[in-house]
């Protein structure tokens, strides 16, 4: 039955079928020709998989992100970051990265982060003398931090599939997210120094400027405190935090910053509904697929094959990292997490890797994949903002990507980068 599952799977993927149809279709074929199990199973599991309270966080964080973008919150975050870093060499680029990090602490989505921050920063950087392809490349990768710093939609998906605490995953995302931000700022500094980017813009650093922009951004900056404080203070679950952030973003956008209008809501909610459903259809149809994988003991077979290559934790992690980077280049994030977690997680836990640590590794890999051609959602957004083609941006991606991959490997081999914070918080042992 294994071949009956994987041959149709491979053919449908190569033909470019939407991922959910690939998963549901190959499950039907495998069950129909390969076993006596009733085909209703696939449809029944579609229901059970989407009937999930933790997954409710997915649409709610998407709505929250869209609200921030239209409600004037992203621009205020950028102004605050600019008052802090604008005076340095390469400052404007660093501002973009830092603003992505702040925005990431509110939104759980990569492309939303690129759209919200890049939409303002890329034109501003070009005006200040930065190369537009470089600006787009930098912001596309910085947007990937959006899913590494909590909250994070891919982490919610991983937590649900791997039965791992979502709050602990969130806490483990801080270290790698901040490290990646610093690495990108370093790239930006060097690039600006070499090419003389940003000579036109230099803002002078003033404490009064910092204070003013801080006051203006106060309600935006309070949001991550509220969301994360609520989760770790034991007040609400990640899903409830997402609902609170929707209401908060709505109130702040409508009554405090007054940039959100009621007429903005239907298109904003429709966009969130569409994106949610695309992710959820994949999760729903992956459920039957996953059932067949487990019933056929396929994860065990793959595990045995990998272990026969090496039983060294670092070698296996390296192999998995390379494979995930490759998968991330061609496949969508949710689908990769849903399909690959049940296969890889048992292997690495056998080798003594903490499931939380592996979750972060997996999310980082796929986050980088969001910014690599040919299928990088962040890149698509950055292309449309900057007006440059994928090829032009890809040429400027090299250093930005290399540094992020370096951070990824550091996080993989040096566990405390991810696990120090959840350990200090007493979330894991």
């Amino acid at each position: 039955m294994t071949a009956l599952l994987f041959v149709p799977f491979a053919i449908l993927v190569i033909l470019g079928f939407p991922i959910w149809t690939v998963l549901a279709g190959s499950s039907f074929i495998a069950l129909y020709f390969g076993s006596g199990t009733p085909l209703t199973l696939v449809v029944q599991r579609m229901f059970t998989a989407s009937d999930s309270f933790p997954l409710l966080a997915v649409p709610l964080f998407m709505v929250a992100g869209n609200l921030m973008e239209t409600g004037g919150i992203s621009r205020r975050l950028i102004n605050f970051c600019n008052s802090l870093l604008g005076s340095f060499t390469g400052g404007l680029g660093m501002v973009g990265v830092l603003a992505c990090m702040f925005f990431a602490a509110i939104s759980g989505s990569g492309p939303a982060t690129v759209a919200a921050i890049g939409g303002i920063m890329i034109p501003a950087m070009v005006e200040a003398g930065y190369d537009s392809a470089f600006s787009a490349a930098l912001l596309a990768v910085a947007g990937a931090i959006g899913v590494i710093i909590p909250p994070s939609i891919p982490m919610v998906n991983y937590g649900v599939v791997g039965s791992v605490s979502i709050s602990s995953l969130f806490a483990a995302g801080f270290g790698p997210g901040i490290l990646m931000g610093l690495a990108l700022m370093a790239v930006c500094y060097v690039a600006a120094k070499r090419n003389g980017y940003g000579k036109l813009s230099a803002v002078q650093f003033r404490w009064s400027g910092v204070w003013h922009s801080f006051r203006d951004a106060f309600w935006a900056l309070l949001m991550p405190v509220l969301i994360l404080g609520g989760i770790y203070g034991g007040i609400f679950t990640p899903t409830e935090a997402a609902a609170v952030s929707v209401i908060y973003g709505f109130v702040v956008g409508l009554f405090v910053y007054k940039e959100l209008k009621f007429s903005d809501l239907p298109p904003l909610l429709m966009a969130a509904g569409k994106t949610t459903a695309i992710v959820m259809m994949i999760i729903a149809s992956a459920s039957g697929f996953g059932w067949i994988l487990t019933a056929e003991r396929i994860p065990d077979v793959i595990a045995a094959a990998m272990m026969s290559l090496s039983s060294n934790k670092f070698v296996i992690l390296t192999l998995i990292n390379l494979l995930l980077l490759l998968v991330g280049c061609i496949m969508e994030t949710t689908a990769s997490i849903i399909i690959l977690t049940p296969i890889f997680l048992p292997i690495v836990t056998q080798l003594g890797v903490n499931p939380i640590h592996f979750g972060i590794i997996m999310v980082m890999n796929l986050a980088i994949g969001m910014a690599t051609p040919p299928l990088g959602v962040n890149l698509f957004v950055a292309c449309s903002i900057s007006g440059r083609t994928m090829e032009q941006i890809s040429r400027k991606l090299v250093w930005v990507l290399l540094l992020s991959i370096l951070v990824l490997f550091l996080t993989s081999y040096f566990e405390p980068i991810a696990l120090l914070i959840p350990r200090l918080m007493g979330l894991i042992r």
Binding site: A24, D51, E240, P266, A272, P374
Partner: protein, 168 residues
Amino acid sequence: MKKRIQGFIDNFEGYCCVVALSAMSIIIFIQVIFRYVLKASLPWSEEISRYLLVWTTFFGGAYGVRLGAHIGVEAFTMLLPKKYQRVLAILINVASIVLCVAILVFGIKIVQTQMRRGQLSPAMRLPMGYVYLAIPIGMVLFIVRYIQRIVLALLNFSKNEEEAGGLL
């Protein structure tokens, strides 16, 4: 007037998502308020929001079909000449209809079973058959949207992408 009706039909599932997502946000927010501020947990809030998510999944999914937003791996098909890519896209839509019909049939079976057994949801005592209806109704919408895409693709086959208004 005619335009407004057409806009409504075009975005029907989208409007359903608007209602469901607003309801979810408000219900879960109220759940937090009740538990934390009023110290009284609501028994039904979690259940209804989960079911709303199921409905959003299948309705929003159909909306995604209309917008051509369900993506697959394009790395390989990109290598084909444009004309073949279009033919392939139409064939994929046809094959997807076959899949949706299969899901529709099994979905109806599940609804019938649930109705016969009289299964009720734990908190709200809602007949589970109604909740499961999301699948067959959703699949009918999927099929309608796939047919719409195929027809549009065939009508605009010889035009280039801009002329077709991004509907290909």
